[in-house]
Amino acid sequence: MARMDSSSKSSADIAVVASDVDYAYGTDANPKPILRSVDLTLARGEFVILTGPSGAGKTTLMTLIGALRSVQKGSIKVLGTELARLPAAGQRDVRRRIGFIFQDHNLFDALTAFQTLRLAMELAEKRPSYDEALSRAGDLMAALGMEKHLHARPGELSTGQKQRVAIARALINDPSLILADEPTASLDQGSAGAVIDIIRDRIVRAGAAALMVTHDTRLFSVADRVVRMEDGRVVEPS
């Protein structure tokens, strides 16, 4: 597996640049620092795993990069947009270019897998026709080994199958950045491998970048880089 060095990339090739990022919960009078002077760069076409103990600040960093929280101090540039002081509408625009994979599938029980994917496709600048949507959804579901479940609702699927639908939802619009939190936790080894292959394929084919939080050391070998965080700091960029 070719390892990438993001420090040698031009700015156009950079997906995420976090510089000197601090973040604290609590009140101004009684702040509880979570991130301390975090620097992280993620190049397009790069697959980075973020690891570290609980409470290290991985999730907070992910939510900041995903424009799900506002930057308090420092700078985070995602897909060319500075997130610091970015208004809500701008954050929303950035989020539309990101594929989010959460630990929970969070699927609507009333929607079939296809309807879930089609709903996500409606966020795209150009809304696909029904046939085009069906074709794209079918191809992606097939790549995830889910071709037989395109019209199944969550109630008809196993936990792993639901998670794969959620992963398909995150990838259906070919996001430029994929942010994943333990995406393979509920999957067996075979399914986990398929998911990683799909994410890798998106990285190679669409030039996307992926940042994945995981404790699964088996996945470390497939990443371009493994970044370790401890006590709110990046301690071990590989």
């Binding site: 799900l68 539309r96 959460f102 969070n106 609507f108 009333a110 929607l111 309807q115 089609r118 966020l123």
Partner: protein, 383 residues
């Protein structure tokens, strides 16, 4: 493949409808809850309108362009009579084709089976002229031409003895021939009515004075101009109204003089509040049950406007379903109430539209309150 898959998700039936319709039993329970509130509004409104319409029935049925009454007669159930000469003065106007005097009174109708006597309204007018739309004018004229002949109001409440056409009816101890029927209808004060010619009425009440006059104008006459002329020419002991004005005056008087507007208004408000709370509770539960999913949509980049649209869509579905259920219940209730009370309780297009918009408004307000919860869905909490 189901037909719903072909429909775009962001347009009706969109995601909101799909979500709330997924649990059919819960949806039916929601429809039932809101339907009860809608039915309460319908019944309260129907009773109010039934009373108002019944009280103003005579104005509604007038066959003429203007009505003249004693200036002191503040409502149709206050029988201040007029000087007969006023009608003659009105008839002298070149644009007035005819003035029909109307006499009102009460008589006692005896039930031969029980010997009990019940009060009944008497409406009298010249036999050749029908001042109210209560039957075929020619048939009424023919029937009333014979002396001591009456027509029975078949819409009277069923408290009177069976009145058979060509039979006899005993009124104030005197026998009258019943020549047939008219359709007038009772109100809150009167349970029923009979119609007779003024000649028959004069036989019992030789000094009777008209209670109102129905004025028919010549073809092409300007009603307002004629009224202005009549007001200028006559003393101010009489007032002139168009039938619609008279009806509206009766509405206003009834609402002002009796607290029925407040009573039924509170009833409708109760329905509105019950419906709003029910709708809010249903929507709130829907939102809370799917808060993580809504947070996911926000994380993906869907706007709060889109999320609000989902909830409003659900609210409108609840309003429509509840409204239909309530309408069906109200329809049955109206038939029952009209049958039992003989009041003019009817489902009219304006009343149906009014209640529909109230139901829709109620649901949207409930949605606006409930969707504050969806705004709190924090996508950052998903990681």
């Amino acid at each position: 493949m189901r037909w719903r898959d072909w429909l775009p998700l962001q347009h009706p039936p969109g995601i909101g409808v799909r979500l709330i319709a997924f649990n059919r039993l819960r949806l039916l329970a929601a429809f039932a809850g809101i339907g009860v509130a809608v039915a309460v509004m319908f019944v309260e409104f129907g009773l109010l309108m039934g009373i108002l319409n019944s009280q103003s029935l005579m104005a509604t049925l007038v066959r003429g362009e203007l009505v003249v009454v004693n200036e002191a007669r503040t409502n149709l159930h206050k029988w201040d009579s007029m000087n007969r000469i006023r009608l003659n003065q009105i008839a002298a106007d070149p644009d007035v084709e005819r003035v029909i005097p109307v006499y009102l009174g009460n008589m006692g109708l005896r039930d031969p089976a029980t010997n009990s006597v019940r009060r009944i309204l008497v409406v009298a007018f010249p036999s050749g002229e029908l001042p109210f739309a209560i039957g075929d004018p020619d048939a009424v004229a023919r029937a009333l031409r014979s002396p001591n002949t009456v027509l029975f109001d078949r819409l009277s409440r069923p408290i009177y003895p069976d009145i058979v056409a060509d039979g006899e009816a005993e009124l104030n101890g005197l026998s009258y021939r019943v020549a047939g029927y008219v359709d007038l209808g009772p109100d809150i004060i009167h349970d029923g009515a009979i119609v007779m010619s003024d000649a028959s009425w004069f036989q019992r009440n030789p000094n009777a004075r008209p209670i109102m006059g129905v004025i028919r104008l010549a073809e092409g006459a300007d009603t307002d101009a004629v009224r202005e002329r009549l007001i200028a020419a006559l003393p101010d002991d009489v007032s002139f109204f168009t039938p619609e004005e008279l009806r509206q005056r009766e509405f206003d008087f009834t609402l002002r003089s009796a607290p029925i507007g407040i009573l039924f208004g509170i009833g409708m408000l109760a329905g509105l509040v019950i419906g709003s709370i029910t709708c809010y509770q249903i929507l709130f539960n829907e939102i809370v049950d799917r808060l993580k999913q809504y947070a996911t949509l926000k994380a993906m980049g869907f706007s709060e406007v889109f999320l609000r649209g989902i909830i409003i869509e659900q609210a409108l579905l609840l309003a429509c379903g509840g409204f239909l259920g309530g309408l069906i219940f109200a329809w049955g209730s109206y038939i029952y109430i009209a049958d039992r009370t003989a009041l003019a309780v009817t489902l009219s297009v304006p009343s149906v539209l009014l209640i529909f918009f109230m139901a829709a408004g109620m649901s949207v307000v409930a949605a606006l309150i409930a969707l504050r919860r969806v705004v709190t869905a924090d996508p950052a909490e998903l990681y």
